[in-house]
């Protein structure tokens, strides 16, 4: 079984003290650490597990600058067999449709039985790359997978819907599935594991080679970030005390004072 898995490098922001650049267009990135997008990590793990159970090979693909090679090395250390790097600084800031266009060109008609990727990325969070790629390759797809089972003639995917409901769908192969976090427990990748794959060859493409020069990046994007802003910090909290009735009356009073109740 041939599997392609998409992985993106994103800054880790969960605990970081974020700062906006002076022009308001981006985050201060100096103090940020880059890592594999959390959802993609689950996708890579799932791909490697499928390979370990059913045989075949896994190819990991990323799009980004030179630094994003780390994501590929990490994927190789986890058990992927090949890596494709769409390596060009000018790719950064492209919209999802452009990203998918570049991927399709780089894949150049190669066929995979299954394509996996994260539901969304931690930085932009648009959740479009996977489904757009399925469209571009004319593949059936399922999103938000929290379970994935190979069966005779295809794939059974458990999808996570609203309010703790799950949906089971069957797809023929080839197909594309976007993976939700928590589908598995991704393995730990040791430093030695990364070192061991240091010498493995990585297939690389730049914008020129894909005939995309000048058609990628922020300038060619259908989206433009006007201004980034951090949520405003409130002045403080007032803790209401007293009996339940008194607290409710006071709370209603405050809301009314601020114009929330008429």
């Amino acid at each position: 079984m041939e599997i392609l898995v998409l992985a993106k490098q994103v800054p880790e922001t969960a605990e970081a003290d974020l700062e906006i650049t002076r022009d308001g267009a981006d985050l201060e990135r100096d103090d940020l650490v880059y890592t594999i997008n959390e959802w993609d990590n689950y996708a890579v793990e799932e791909a490697v597990r499928l390979k370990e159970a059913h045989g075949g090979a896994v190819t990991v693909l990323t799009l980004g600058d030179e630094e994003s090679e780390d994501v590929l090395r990490r994927g190789l250390a986890m058990g992927c067999d090949q890596a494709i790097h769409l390596n060009d600084e000018t790719f950064l800031g492209s919209d999802p449709a452009t990203v998918v266009q570049a991927m399709v060109k780089a894949l150049g008609g190669r066929r995979f039985d299954l394509i996996l990727c994260g539901v969304q990325s931690a930085d932009q969070g648009q959740g479009q790359t996977g489904v757009l790629l399925a469209q571009a390759l004319d593949l059936p797809y399922a999103s938000l997978a929290v379970g994935l089972k190979l069966v005779e003639g295809g794939l059974v995917v458990t999808r996570e819907l609203e309010a703790n409901t799950l949906e089971e769908v069957a797809l023929p192969l080839p197909a594309l599935v976007t993976v939700q976090s928590g589908i598995n427990q991704p393995r730990y990748v040791s430093i030695m594991g990364i070192r061991k794959v240091r010498g493995m060859a990585i297939e690389a493409h730049d914008a020129d080679g894909l005939d995309l020069a000048g058609q990628v990046g922020p300038a060619a994007s259908c989206l433009a970030a006007r201004r980034l802003a951090l949520p405003e910090t409130g002045a403080g909290a007032e803790i209401l005390s007293g009996g339940l009735d008194a607290v409710c009356a006071r709370a209603a009073g405050i809301i009314r004072e601020k114009g929330g109740l008429k």
């Binding site: 880790e12 970081a16 650490v33 890592t35 393995r187 730990y188 040791s190 430093i191």
Partner: protein, 665 residues
């Protein structure tokens, strides 16, 4: 003339030689099977007379067996003395028979009497061993069928030997045979008419039992008689660091050092009684882990796997029998209590570290929280925060010299990840800073550039990360030219002094370490001794000291913190049931601070209960991990009114009045 008549009354001596050859062949095969496991990658630090002396003292006098259990020491001494005496007797008889005849006349009589005594001593030891196991039922001893077999077998050999002698004396006894006093006494059991026939039967029984034991020895627990002394010798050399330059196919699952630990173990169970994890009812018990690993390696690395028929059988057994449960490895706190009490100095923690390394490289079974902590360590140089540049936040406003920025200072205070980032442990850092300033000691830190020393990576088996961190920090210290380091944590201290030195040995770097690392308690003790740290007022409190494992056991320092506490007037130090090198671990070591395990026990609570049993109002410790673990257990257990937990620096500050306020205890 009194002398021994070899093969008296035995006609088919050839059969005896045949059986002997057979027994020796099986013994040789067993020995080869065991030694073949030791052989790959075998290295040693060369011969050392001092190490041999210590080995002999432990092996022959049983120093480590007497310690903590005189009854066991006596048991072992009796068996060893009897066994060695009779072994020597057999050797002398063989020399007399085959080489030079010298055992006759008075010498023969005296030696005969001595061997009678050896036989008696051996039997006394064996009976004592059986009493301990089956009547006294010493809790740490197991009572499986195999546990009775070995002493019963030895006892049968000794008894049959005396009966052979008695029958011979009954049949042909000269008056001088009185010297074999026990045989003489027992000879009344045999009627002179039937004694000759009985002798032959008993002789062959004795021969069969003895030869059977020889054949069984390499496969039995008695193999410790050979493996334990070798292990005692080797354990005096530090366990080498993994060589990360090896190609994957050259990396061995276990080294000869691990196999020695496995073969030396006698299953005495002292480790189970000492292990904080086993005591708290967790799935790990060092003895069981060693047993499983021994079975696993004896099946997997058996010499006989070279023969296809055996290979199939061994493989089959390997898959059908329960062997190492790798999950257990994560419960170990690496406190080394097991190593401390082990009579043969087996090292379950090195075995566990090796298993952990394999699990880390494989990746799938690393506990999720631990994996997260390791990723933080690699990216942010600390296991606590996914954020850079927070290491100096605790010292805001203190204006400490920053060596990383080029400020000069003779002493580097290596604060450590936990001490700089955990709010409770920061008390240690503030305390030490205040004490050093009070004593006029000039020092600086590495500020926000301080990396992790690599302790956690090393303890959980992330060898690559440890190397990376060690290289980073060594490079930084060399650039600055640091010569003196004081650490908050006994863990950092151990890593900087011991593990960094191991890396130098491995990498062939000669010369002394470029810096000396000390734990802060050692620096404080020195200040007390120099008269620079004195306590004019004192602190009235009954206190007990919780020894951090990495200070007391790994680094052998139990005196320094007590020296400091003893200098505080009014402070009465009482000791817990387990203290000093036998201290009980708080449960925070070996990476356990950074992950949760199914069914994990309340290790720190057990420790606090020991502390409360002393009647102390204050538990003092000298490690950020112990401080956090004990403080948490104190709050979770609802012991807040009964006792306080403080770092040694905090206590010193209170005694010096640097914190202001009244005695809080």
């Amino acid at each position: 003339m009194p002398a021994r008549v070899p093969f008296w009354n035995i006609e088919a001596a050839w059969l005896f030689y045949l059986l002997t050859a057979l027994a020796l062949a099986v013994f040789g095969l067993g020995l080869a099977i065991n030694l073949a496991r030791w052989r790959p990658g075998f290295t040693w630090g060369g011969f050392s007379a001092a190490r041999l002396k210590a080995t002999l003292a432990d092996a022959l006098l049983g120093r480590r067996i007497w310690r903590g259990d005189a009854s066991a020491g006596l048991m072992h001494a009796l068996i060893l003395l009897g066994f060695l005496g009779l072994f020597l007797a057999t050797c002398l008889v063989a020399i007399d028979h085959y080489l030079v005849s010298f055992l006759h006349g008075r010498l023969y009589l005296v030696t005969s009497a001595l061997w009678e005594i050896c036989g008696l001593v051996l039997m006394a030891g064996l009976v004592w061993a059986l009493i301990r196991r089956y009547l006294q039922r010493v809790p740490r001893l197991e009572r499986r069928p195999a546990d009775a077999l070995l002493p019963a077998w030895l006892l049968a050999i000794a008894l049959s030997g005396f009966l052979v002698e008695a029958a011979r004396i009954a049949a042909s006894g000269a008056a001088w045979e009185r010297w074999s006093f026990l045989g003489w006494g027992l000879s009344g059991l045999f009627a002179p008419a039937s004694a000759v026939a009985a002798h032959a039967v008993l002789w062959w029984t004795h021969a069969a039992l003895s030869l059977g034991l020889i054949a069984w020895l390499p496969f039995s627990r008695l193999f410790h008689a050979l493996a334990a002394p070798v292990n005692l010798y080797f354990q005096q050399e530090p366990h080498p660091l993994a060589d990360l330059s090896l190609a994957p196919d050259q990396v061995r699952e276990f080294s000869h050092r691990h196999f020695l630990t496995l073969d030396a173990c006698t299953r005495c169970g002292r480790c189970v009684e000492a292990c904080p994890s086993a005591r708290a009812g967790e799935p790990l018990a060092p003895r069981g882990f060693v047993r499983d690993a021994r079975l696993y390696t004896r099946l997997k690395y058996n010499l006989l796997t070279k023969i296809p028929w055996f290979r199939r059988r061994l493989r089959q057994e390997l898959t059908s029998r329960p062997t190492i449960d790798p999950e257990q490895a994560w419960y170990c706190t690496t406190c080394a209590a097991c190593v401390e009490v082990c009579p043969v100095q087996a090292s379950p923690i090195e075995l566990i570290r090796q298993v952990r390394s394999a699990l880390v490289e494989q990746g799938s079974t690393v506990p999720p929280l631990l994996a997260q902590s390791l990723e933080r360590l690699a990216k942010y140089q600390n296991p606590w925060l996914a954020k850079k540049g927070q290491k100096a936040a605790w010292a805001k406003g203190l204006d400490l010299p920053d060596l990383a920025k080029g400020d000069p200072a003779e002493l580097l205070y290596f604060v450590g990840c936990t001490t700089s980032l955990d709010t409770r442990a920061q008390g240690l850092a503030r305390g030490l800073t205040a004490v050093l300033a009070h004593c006029g000691v000039a020092f600086g830190t590495l500020g926000k550039a301080e990396p992790c020393c690599g302790d956690i990576a090393r303890r959980v088996g992330e060898n690559g990360l440890f190397e990376e961190q060690r290289e980073d920090l060594s490079g930084l210290l060399a650039d600055i030219g640091v010569r003196e380091v004081v650490t908050s944590s006994p863990h950092c201290h151990r890593t900087l002094s011991h593990d960094y030195a191991l890396a130098r040995t491995r990498d062939g770097v000669t010369g002394p370490m470029p810096f000396r690392a000390r734990h802060y308690s050692q620096v404080l003790a020195e200040l007390v001794e120099q008269g620079r740290l004195t306590f004019p007022t004192g602190l009235a409190v009954r206190a007990t000291f919780h020894d951090p494992c990495y200070l007391a056991r790994h680094s052998r320092e139990v005196r320094a913190p007590r020296r400091v506490l003893a200098a505080i007037p009014g402070l009465e130090l009482v000791e817990m049931a387990d203290h000093g090198r036998n201290g009980l671990c708080c449960g925070g070591g070996g990476g356990r601070m950074w992950h949760e395990l199914p069914g994990q026990g309340h290790l720190a609570r057990a420790r606090l209960e020991q502390a409360m049993a002393t009647g102390a109002a204050l538990v003092v410790t000298a490690c950020p991990l112990c401080l956090i673990m004990l403080e948490d257990a104190r709050k979770a257990g609802g012991f807040e009114d009964r006792l306080a937990v403080r770092d040694l620096n905090e206590v010193v500050c209170l005694a010096l009045g640097l914190e202001g306020g009244a005695n809080p205890f």
